[in-house]
Subunit: 377 residues, 2 copies
């Protein structure tokens, strides 16, 4: 009888329509029936990614698409810039180094966003850099990076811009073509509203030149094999059939609601969460917070691992703790995908009750009324 509420920054709740679509009897992937769905899914993905570029879909976690971007663009000893302002920025560096890419890291303090000028400076000092790896929403910190500004600055450069949009796509604006983002990487379990298991890469014409030059070994994640198949509305290897079917359902919902409305919806929820935690007397962690996840410093003496555990085990409300150096020190509440006002109200209510139980002093209900005020604006 326990009711569970998923307010983690991925996986996010899956609409019943998608769950039930995925529960239909399995179909074979080399059939007109699947091909029709896959074709529609790919068109819908283009709407979501705001691009005319090819988008390759892999059965895999988001990390597989990050690796796909690195190995298809770069050869061993090629130079790349990786912006590291959290766990997922660091992952770009780890992947590139695993493939012998020479990485110039730009280290950004957790909780802060990179200044595009820092990237520009490194590009000027290193004219041979082939790719810049960035993270639009750094899930581990809740920070939004200004990809539009970076893309603008990079328009005149040779290097391609790669953006990890795993937790931001479909949640905050990312104008792949208008801004000029060469490769956008994403995953299925956040703004896309289905379970984890699908990974995506959109690839621009400029990036495709690097794909043809790359000498890095690859097979399963080879964009060349993926493109050959995609041109026939097919996949190089067996696709995750049910996840594709579920995704097409949620993409149709996104298209119907339209991206601008969704972005505004998330912004409104994020404002409500921020207002609520401030009203409880807490401090936001991210300096440039993304509208899809809000990261908050815990009060002095409160371990967020414990906070998360009590909220989940005793109340069924899942939020996330901190990662890396901020384990135990911050907590994160998501506003992405299939969430509305009352998910936020539930999350804040549970947070208030558990903080009170853990001994933090504040007026019960302050967070909730601040959230409501913000939601009514």
């Amino acid at each position: 009888m326990k009711k569970n509420f998923l307010l983690t920054p991925g996986p996010t709740p899956v609409p019943a329509e998608a769950l039930l679509a995925m529960a239909r009897p399995t179909i074979h992937h080399r059939t007109p029936a699947f091909k029709a769905i896959f074709k529609e899914m790919n068109e819908n993905l283009k709407y979501l990614f705001q691009t005319k570029n090819d988008i390759f879909t892999f059965a895999g976690s988001g990390t597989s698409a990050m690796e796909a971007a690195a190995v298809n663009l770069l050869s061993p000893s090629d130079k790349a810039i990786c912006v590291q302002g959290g766990k997922f920025g660091e992952r770009w560096t780890e992947i590139c180094r695993a493939y012998q890419v020479k990485v110039i890291t730009i280290d950004v303090a957790w909780g802060q966003a990179v200044n595009p000028k820092q990237i520009e400076k490194e590009l000027q000092n290193n004219k041979d850099v082939k790719a810049v790896f960035t993270t639009q929403c750094e899930t581990s910190t809740g920070v939004l990076t200004d990809i539009e500004a970076i893309a603008k600055m990079m328009k005149s450069k040779d290097a391609v811009l790669v953006t990890d949009a795993v937790s931001s796509l479909g949640g905050v604006d990312l104008q792949t073509d208008n801004w000029g983002v060469d490769v956008v990487v994403s995953g299925s379990q956040k703004g896309l509203m289905i379970p984890p298991g699908l990974a995506f890469c959109s690839v621009s014409k400029k990036a495709w030149k690097l794909v043809e030059q790359s000498k890095s070994p690859r097979y399963y994640l080879d964009f060349r094999l993926a493109k050959k198949a995609l041109d026939k509305s097919d996949t190089a290897f067996t696709p995750a059939v049910t996840l594709c079917i579920g995704l097409n359902e949620t993409l149709n919902m996104i298209k119907q609601m339209t991206l601008p409305v969704i972005f505004e919806h998330n912004r409104r929820l994020a404002r409500a969460v921020r207002a609520a935690v401030k009203a409880i007397g807490l401090e936001l962690f991210a300096q440039n917070p993304a509208d899809v996840v809000t990261s908050v410093y815990a009060p002095q003496g409160i371990d967020t691992a414990q906070l998360v555990k009590i909220m989940r085990d005793e109340y069924g409300v899942s939020i996330a703790g901190g990662q890396g150096d901020f384990k135990g020190k911050i907590f994160r509440i998501a506003q992405m995908g299939y969430m509305n006002e009352f998910d936020i109200i539930v999350g804040i209510s549970c947070l208030e009750m558990v903080l009170k139980r853990m001994g933090y002093e504040f007026e019960l209900g302050n967070g909730l009324s601040a959230a409501e005020k913000e939601l009514l604006r």
Copy 2:
């Protein structure tokens, strides 16, 4: 209102129990709830693989696990033997070559099985071979390779034995530990009875030494990262949560039915299909047929692409055509996973009716009665 019957050699029908388990609200993967399921799933996989070795689970197609085996065991310019007797044997060669491995191919005519002596000879001529890549059931031909004999022959050799058991695991016997198969690769959408999207590798101690030595670049598929996580009943990257939950359901079913009973069940179905097609006057394609898929030469003048299309589009019965040089010339009917006597009866009945419509001369019902006779034995 159309009823569909999936008799393809993957994906195979998914039991409603698993479909509904996967349709439950998504849970987060770093929680005690998921960890408990994942732990049980891993224990169940050990039963299925008949091994005490670690089994790594990736979000990916079967091919990703094949690639994982190659990159974790071998460095560039290492030598390997790849047995090629069909599309999936050839895939071993393609993957190894993509990673600069020096491949000695053993070419086996499609429809035939490799003689273990051929492998032994190559191993004697090439003492520095580090790995032998084989395919237990070559899905493209329906041929079963005698992995037990190959393993026995290789016991005294330095090279490790790698077996692609994507379409055979849980369908025909594969005694990983008793026979001594170092790496077994599989996927979720065949004998394991869930949709595509999970890939597996079991790794022996002997193989682990190569993993530590391998200089091939890898990240997402790195066994070292996978092992570090698995030791804590965790995954290195976000797992395909719902597929793992579905898999645990089907593995519990398999455990309850027991492997010997399932192998005998498949054998019985395979005998019925073979008897039926012979009674229709058709010839089997595979010389050493696997009990999970039956491959059959089409009658003169009948294009199997057309046969498959009519069976599927007009009757809802999906079987597979031929691949490579045998496209249009053979067809394949699966007996794997969640199939019983009446799936076979339906498949044979549809085959009879469509062959008759396509102008092939035979006595209607001959196939069905031969199948029933075999099923009653």
